[in-house]
């Protein structure tokens, strides 16, 4: 298992009604080490979703490359979208099983459902689930494919605070047992500090990396709100180049 390198020299987009393409992402480069949880923090509308879509292979119209250890193969992707994107006509369990190869044992799905506390609703259709539950299903689906890179696009947005905290804790438990490379997009710095090994601060459009920084708080100290707040204040006052983005 080696690093995955993401290199985007230039990505432009054509706004509706315009004839000249505007730059969306310039000179972006990022290395994802095995088992590393990376949070992308940046102002909304800066191009984070565009970046994730490029990495996921959904957007191929850019100048750059996504490199994995195996030459010429694109990384296997698990993607937790901003809205859950479950198939409403398939049950929770079917939604998970659909992304899997047929030789993967059913016990793995059982185990994932158990970890995310969804065993009791596995045969329910998604429209009957709360948003928090749907998000948990989407997280299971992403982990289930054993991805090289797990993309998460603000998966806790529009959840109330207690639900968000609960899903966040479940996610951390799951990730510590299955430590994939995670690229997590958020505009909430507290959330990013609570989750990440490494923070990557992004500029407003056209997007580029402003600063990378490791989170110095130990994993078991991440539930300590005070420690998180202290680090947040330290970031805001100590680094004028990023405080403007937060």
């Amino acid at each position: 298992m080696a690093a995955v390198n993401i290199l985007i020299n230039n990505k432009t987009y054509l706004a509706a009604g315009r004839s000249v393409a505007k730059p969306a992402i310039v000179d972006f480069s990022l290395t994802l080490n095995p088992g590393e949880f990376v949070c992308l923090v940046g102002p909304s509308g800066c191009g984070k979703t565009t970046l994730l879509n490029i990495i996921a292979g959904l957007d191929q119209d850019y100048d750059g490359e996504i490199l994995t250890a195996k030459a010429n193969t694109s990384p296997k992707i698990g993607y937790v979208f901003q809205n859950p994107r479950l198939l409403p006509w398939r049950t929770v369990r079917e939604n998970i099983e659909l992304v899997l190869d047929s030789q993967i044992p059913a016990s793995m799905v059982d185990e994932l459902l158990e970890m995310m506390q969804l065993t009791s609703v596995q045969h329910v259709y998604p429209e009957r689930l709360s948003l928090g539950m749907s998000r948990r299903v989407a997280i299971i689906r992403a982990f289930a494919v054993n991805p090289d890179v797990l993309l998460m696009d603000e998966p806790f947005v529009s959840l109330d605070a207690p639900t968000a905290r609960q899903v966040r804790e479940l996610l951390m438990q799951l990730w510590q047992r299955r430590p994939h490379r995670v690229l997590f997009v958020t505009h909430d710095l507290r959330e990013a500090i609570a989750l990440a090994d490494k923070l990557v601060f992004l500029s407003a459009s056209p997007m580029t990396v402003v600063r990378e920084m490791a989170v110095p708080i130990a994993r078991d100290g991440r539930t300590d709100e005070a420690a998180i707040e202290a680090f947040r204040q330290q970031l805001k006052s100590g680094y004028p180049d990023i405080s403007g983005l937060l």
Binding site: G57, L58, G78, L87, W89, R90, R128
Partner: protein
């Protein structure tokens, strides 16, 4: 009260029959026979095997042309819905075929191919096809791009995407095409039979018209409506139910 409400459909049918009976007795003409006379003719037509035979022939034509039109129409509709270029090219064709009168296609098919079974089927298919294409094309345009992206990023492949992502979204549109299609084909098929076949419901009705046999016309009509209702009840409704079970 609930018991009474359940009886309402039956009551309304009885009321309709009663009105018919009243008017028939009042005008007292052989051009409007009583319900009883029609029921008698219906029974005789069934017992003699005449009605089942002609109804069967028409149903066979219906199933054949319906199946061809739905399969071709769905395939073409999905293609046009997914490709803007194809759609831009074929849109005019669609508009033309949608607006050619049914009678014209029927006459032309008979003139060009002769008074044969394949000409009859083709005429029905040509009348129904544009309808299916337009409905399925609308359904394809309305496909959820978010779900398609999800399928692509998780490597669903063509078969899985079609079966689990596209088909369930198209299902309501295909059902709409089915319902409107059956009603349309019924009507066209009778004209096709009237103009160029020597069996089937249309041929029989034409015969009764020449004999001024209104009782037989009404008897065949009733048989007709009953069969359509049975199709709706036994085939379409259950299909709807299984496909919509995920809805709240």
């Amino acid at each position: 009260m609930i018991g009474f409400q359940k009886l309402l459909p039956t009551l309304s049918l009885l009321a309709l029959t009663a009105i018919w009976q009243g008017v028939a007795v009042f005008v007292n003409s052989h051009t409007l026979p009583t319900p009883y006379a029609v029921a008698w003719v219906l029974w005789q037509a069934i017992a003699s095997g005449q009605l089942p035979y002609h109804l069967g022939v028409t149903l066979l034509r219906l199933v054949t042309s319906f199946t061809i039109a739905m399969l071709m129409g769905s395939a073409i509709g999905i293609l046009l819905g997914r490709s803007r270029k194809l759609d831009a090219f074929f849109d005019n064709w669609l508009v033309i075929f949608l607006n050619v009168p049914a009678l014209v296609t029927i006459i032309l098919c008979y003139v060009w191919l002769g008074l044969v079974e394949s000409a009859a089927i083709l005429a029905v298919v040509i009348n129904k096809l544009p309808n299916v294409i337009v409905t399925v094309r609308e359904g394809t345009r309305a496909l959820d791009q978010d779900l398609l992206d999800m399928a692509r990023c998780y490597g669903f492949g063509k078969r899985k995407t079609l079966l689990h992502v596209i088909w369930p979204q198209l299902h309501p549109f295909i059902m709409a095409a089915t319902r409107s299609g059956l009603a349309l084909i019924w009507k066209i098929i009778l004209v096709v039979e009237l103009l160029g076949r020597s069996n089937g419901m249309g041929y029989q009705l034409h015969l009764f018209f020449q004999l001024f046999d209104v009782a037989s016309i009404l008897a065949y009509t009733i048989a007709f409506v009953v069969v359509m209702q049975l199709i709706e009840l036994l085939v379409l409704k259950p299909l709807d139910k299984t496909a919509q079970r995920w809805r709240r």
